[in-house]
């Protein structure tokens, strides 16, 4: 997840143009993505992605990241958690409306690689309160947004995490990796 230094994941109107994502970061994020074989999304993030990735690699201006990530994401099983979404266009995608905890527990038991939840702050909050997250990966961007969409809200209880790794990039981003913790 990309986060501002004051804990926002997007501006008040969903702006993410402040996110720094250069080659150094892309390489590490791609490494993380390669540990997974299934993508999870909330509805808002899913719709953003569905509008971009299916054709991203076809564009004449496609970057290396566009090509690499398309190769992983387009064929990968994708699950979007939404009560309102009726149908999806993107290949290998299914909608889960309910029983999130049971669904994730079932998938975690299956053989395979990790499940990766991209951005999706609202769903992330839900996952957190259901104790579903094993590892968190944040890229702290060197910007104060002041207002916007906060990372994790409406948690009843505080939750301690365990810092596993921190890495500082030349572009000013600090990436922090945590193990999901106890209440």
């Amino acid at each position: 997840m990309h986060v501002s230094l004051d804990g926002f994941v997007a501006g008040p109107n969903g702006e993410i143009d402040w996110v720094i994502f250069d080659d150094d970061l892309i390489e590490d994020v791609q490494g993380l993505v390669n540990t997974a074989d299934t993508a999870l999304f909330g509805r808002v993030t899913y719709q953003l992605m569905e509008g971009y990735w299916p054709t991203a690699a076809d564009s004449p201006t496609a970057t290396k990241h566009d090509l690499d990530h398309s190769r992983w994401l387009n064929p990968a099983p994708k699950i979007v958690f939404s009560r309102t979404l009726k149908n999806v266009q993107w290949q290998n995608t299914r909608i889960v409306k309910d029983h999130i905890g049971e669904e994730i527990a079932r998938m975690k038991k299956q053989p395979g690689k990790n499940l990766i939840l991209f951005a999706s702050p609202t769903l992330g909050s839900t996952f957190m309160s259901l104790d579903l997250i094993d590892e968190y990966f944040f890229n702290i961007n060197p910007i104060v947004l002041g207002k916007g969409k906060p990372l994790f809200r409406d948690q009843n209880e505080m939750r301690r995490l365990k810092l596993l790794e921190s890495r500082t990039y030349k572009n000013g981003v600090v990436s922090l990796r945590y193990r999901g913790g106890s209440k």
């Binding site: 230094l5 004051d6 804990g7 060197p142 002041g146 906060p150 994790f152 209880e157 301690r160 365990k162």
Partner: protein, 190 residues
């Protein structure tokens, strides 16, 4: 010119409310769950490197209640009790904490004047709405965040006033403490 150094305890989700437990926040005192022997040393060095404090009303009242009666071997309490403190408030009438004086109005202008006086760095702890004002007037020379490995999920955030605070910063330093606290230090971007 003297520097304004803002130093904050913050949770991973950007909450700064009541790390010390003196207010009535339901998670009050959350910062005490993450202590190691390097953090007090760092906080002491930071305090010693500055010669005045600049505080908003809420943080001042909390500190003025707690510190005057405290004593510690490291000398933190002596230093904080004796150093000059500038307190920004439109409602406070008098200040009981030793060596405190009031800034009632024209905050940006008064702080600009303070910066031009001879002396060392001016340290700001907590004081969310004051920090907002300082940031909007480009008066913050360094922003230090002690990011604690905790998600609070509720509570007041650093910049909660819904003001136009957006600022690009430049990462100056980062450091990891044994407790999992990460110090991020920023300067304003050129």
């Amino acid at each position: 010119m003297r520097k304004i150094v803002v130093s904050e305890f913050v949770s991973l989700d950007g909450v700064v409310e009541d790390p010390g437990g003196a207010e009535k926040f339901k998670h009050g005192g959350w910062s005490f769950k993450f202590r190691d022997d390097q953090v007090p040393k760092y906080k002491l060095d930071e305090l010693k490197a500055s010669d005045s404090l600049l505080l908003g009303r809420v943080t001042y009242e909390e500190f003025a209640k707690a510190w005057p009666s405290r004593k510690d071997d490291m000398g933190f309490a002596d230093k904080i009790n004796n150093m000059p403190k500038y307190v920004v408030s439109t409602t406070l009438k008098k200040l009981d904490w030793n060596n405190s004086r009031l800034i009632r109005a024209n905050v940006a202008e008064e702080v600009r004047k303070l910066k031009q006086q001879p002396g060392g760095d001016i340290l700001v702890y907590g004081s969310g709405s004051l920090v907002n004002t300082l940031l909007q007037h480009d008066l913050v020379d360094e922003l230090r965040l002690m990011v604690h490995p905790v998600v609070l999920g509720s509570g007041r955030r650093l910049f909660d006033d819904n003001a136009e605070t957006m600022k690009v910063m430049k990462l100056q330093d980062s450091k990891t403490f044994p407790s999992g606290i990460v110090l991020l230090s920023y300067h304003p971007a050129e």
